[in-house]
Symmetry: C2
Amino acid sequence: MPETKLTVGIQPHSLDRDVTAKLDQCDNSGHDFLVVPISHPSFREKMEQTRDLEYMSRIQAVQAPFTSEDLFIRTAKHCERLVGLTSPWVRMDSPDERERYMAEKVLEKELSWSAHIGLSAVLMPLLTTSPDRFTNYARWLCRILHDYAFLQIWIRIPLLLNSESTDPDESVGLQDSWEQWALLKQICDHSPRLQLALEITADLPDPKFQSQWYAEPVKCLIIPTTTFTTNAKGFPVLSKPHQNFIQRLTQLTHYAVIEERQVEDRVCETGNHHKFLRYLSQNPGELSTLESFAAGYKDYLQAPLQPLMDHLESATYATFEQDPVKYQLYEKAVHQALVDRFPSATESDHTCVIFVVGAGRGPLVDRSLAAARSANRHVRVYALEKNPNAYVTLQHKKETTWHEQVTVVFGDMRFWNPPEQADILVSELLGSFGDNELSPECLDGAQRLLRPGGISIPSSYASFVAPLSSSKLYNQVLALNGPAHFQTPFVVLFDAVDTLYPPQKVWQFNHPNPLLCTGDLTAPGLRSENQHNARYAVNTFSTDKAAFIHGMAGYFDCVLYKDITMSIHPRNHTPAMFSWFPIFFPLNKPIFAPKDAVVETHLWRLTSSSKVWYEWCVVVKSAATDAEAHSTPLTSTTIHNLNGSSYWIGL
Amino acid sequence: MPETKLTVGIQPHSLDRDVTAKLDQCDNSGHDFLVVPISHPSFREKMEQTRDLEYMSRIQAVQAPFTSEDLFIRTAKHCERLVGLTSPWVRMDSPDERERYMAEKVLEKELSWSAHIGLSAVLMPLLTTSPDRFTNYARWLCRILHDYAFLQIWIRIPLLLNSESTDPDESVGLQDSWEQWALLKQICDHSPRLQLALEITADLPDPKFQSQWYAEPVKCLIIPTTTFTTNAKGFPVLSKPHQNFIQRLTQLTHYAVIEERQVEDRVCETGNHHKFLRYLSQNPGELSTLESFAAGYKDYLQAPLQPLMDHLESATYATFEQDPVKYQLYEKAVHQALVDRFPSATESDHTCVIFVVGAGRGPLVDRSLAAARSANRHVRVYALEKNPNAYVTLQHKKETTWHEQVTVVFGDMRFWNPPEQADILVSELLGSFGDNELSPECLDGAQRLLRPGGISIPSSYASFVAPLSSSKLYNQVLALNGPAHFQTPFVVLFDAVDTLYPPQKVWQFNHPNPLLCTGDLTAPGLRSENQHNARYAVNTFSTDKAAFIHGMAGYFDCVLYKDITMSIHPRNHTPAMFSWFPIFFPLNKPIFAPKDAVVETHLWRLTSSSKVWYEWCVVVKSAATDAEAHSTPLTSTTIHNLNGSSYWIGL
């Protein structure tokens, strides 16, 4: 379970020299930490006096150490409860070289001191004026990230730039703060050390732009006292849209700062603001069954299963058997199939043959028997399993529970020669992306086991894909250390992501496979390339906001039988079913899609005689304009997992 | 000198089974090689008959080996004089999976055979229809490049797409062939193995789009017979624009193919076309002095000199001393400075003191003495040199030639304490980028040697920069094997490049340095950071064609004295001066600038107490539109050579 406690700090409007007194005050008022300037305002005067001489590099005043009077934070004491602010008066974006030089020197001194005493973090602004000079600042930040490898640096970014500014000069900046942040990330090569402190401004951007931040490394929220309103009881509260947004954000970070702001002549001081924030973070709405189950798995990367090559462990079976919904749906599907196949219950001479292929520890056998009872049909069930360990369990169940109604067989459905053919073939071979655990190959191989007109449960499944933004997932793949990890899909429950586009269908498999209905199918053929299960899909996505694309999210949607379906597609996710998390196809480099661009995903399902694998590629094109009838390519990734070099599923 | 002989092949319109006879014919008509289909048309029928069964992977006809009748090229004999054509009828861009599958299998068989017999190259088309399916083809090409590491694959690209097509379906493709090629390169991760065969269509694109191809790996020109016209004598010739374009291209490649084309019912056969091409390639216009000198250096990457840290070799001095222009300009400058400093020649009691700082083997001493003679002024020359080996040569010249008029001193200009101050300080410390051999640091250190009002020759120099496209230079840096090479500038004479934009000024240094005029300058101070020589420049470039940017070209422009200047800026390059080639700042990944984008270059000159270095970064922004007053960032490189990690010049 994620920690629900919010760590709340204060950034006071004014400060005496004595930080310790302020810390005590902070403690007593129920706050956890204090955000204070590193150096004292008097340091500015001192620096400005010597600036020009300094610049000529003859008098070394700036290089000289701080004196105690220059500082607010003078010792390492309480450092774990202090976040430092760099001097707000320095001008890294000045057109004057001397000013920039001075700014660099002052900031370096402050960071050097912060690193020395081990301050918990340093909060720095994101420059908003002068887009040209922004790159200069970005370069300097790259250097700082490189030089101070153990210092946490939080870049402060207001949700809306200059929303309160009346200075026309300041609005000459970049369009919005996310775009500036995006440029900073590119220049810093998407360094995982870039973290941001998001200022929750009184005005909020449109919800579609709010979600951009879910994909970013938000380390801390900064909420000025002026963003709060007061309720009828005089208690500080936030508007409903603010509440929703902050509630979502506190799932991603546990740090918040209440910043004291002045309105006209009056300082709007901190009071019970932190209580309201804590209340918000502890009330993330009612958890669904899926959410409760999944809480510990958020954004955790798992390698997809290889059930055909590997034998599952008992615990894995046990987890999947706990799904409260999936097996109910299977039971309904078998029931309906039985009724359709044998419309009259009285034909007692007709016994329906059910093959459960890949029976595992037997849950589908149980459900098939239950369906037969509820449908009042005679059944003869064969439980086929290739995992020798699960086979032991099946034998035990036959002896103790199923008896002669069930025949337990050890073998692979692709090569089994049964004594008779089946009316109904029941299997559960789907992966997060539908076909990624080789259900098509297995069921095509088992198709000859089915009588003409026989029923496969599931009868079809489709895969869906959508480009996705998530710095967190990108950084997690990066942390696995090795380029091959970017060529491998992962099973993951998405949390810190911006799902940019609704998923689109990529392909579908049907069973029985109409391509294989010649009747003379023999197992050896299926050891060849099974090219008929190769696929290639192009999907095109359009949106009106800029984004970094870090990969593609994959889902599936399955028809068990007629209208009995199950799905992990976000649009119609089967309620409470937790057997599958989505799949994630990462990109080895985040790719930038500007506003109004068209994003094309290319996905291949490729086959050889021994394996199946996916390859993928994303191309960004400019939208077709009136002047030009076609869109032109802007950027493209390379082909991921070319030739199945890093990831494949063995046949 | 580059090879001037053009290797010309024929692609015949029709072909008997007997390739050998055609090869003899090719020989006899003065051609060097033959371009022929790998497989015979009968192979198509065979394949199409078995296609559907094959697709089901049960009959293995496609995987079966070629039979002799399937092929035009049946043996490895003459392979070095054959270029293979893959089957033109295969449909890699078909929407039908079976057709695509068939196409892949056929092409793979052909390539496998070509690799086996060691064909000199295989020519393959660039798909032009269906932009969606293009990515599928690109993926397949990536795979082929990977699987056939020793096979040369030439991608055939027409200069203008569909210029002769009347099929409206075919014009639904991408805008132009360069854009398609650009996308292919991105998908293949800019593989150096991607080479192109450029078809010279009868219509040529605008010259600005012609130059795009200079930056690409053009391996071969394909000139259809129909592109030629016939002159009054019945000889095949090309239009003047075609001649100019092909002349430039034959500096980049030595392979050409004459392709026989049919016009209505008549095949336009090869005749004397190759003679005209050979004539063109051997007449690259009159060579300038610079071009003659430089022919062997084209696109050759050299590490910039480090004259302050290292001692130059005698041969290096000898090369530079050969420059026919540079020292004439210095002599003129010293002459003019002498005349200005001592307006009356009769003041014989005034002896002008000239310091030649960094005298090397003495060419500037000779020129200073010659200037004194021509100006009829008395001079006392001090020749200062820190290279102990050059110092020996200087002593020898004093003894044999200069005698008492010249004082030879061993030492570094930054630390020398001379017996008197100078009227004129002469130096030649410029690098390809002006200040990159630390002229600013040296001359600032020597400034205290100058009398008030004294003259520095040179008196100023400015650096210029422009983004540049060149696959060849990118691949050459890549071949150096190691990411650090992309963080290092190179001195290089550009050839296979597209200079996209006119260079812009980045910064300038003046001597004497007005910042240093306080008079109490002492050498120790200059050992500090000399921040006053740090620089940061942002330059903005706009163009109306798309391009990959592989780096930045750097130049300088220098005022020796008043109107006596020297320059390697392409706009006003000092004629015949060959002492400097331009500098090249590479980018670690080619960056794509779409049509109408704005390219921002960021360049830093940074300093510490022991070194000077450059850092650079390129940002691409969308152009400001009417709807949005500012441009938004699209892509950015990272900061190159951050903290001088890979390249710096020692003080």
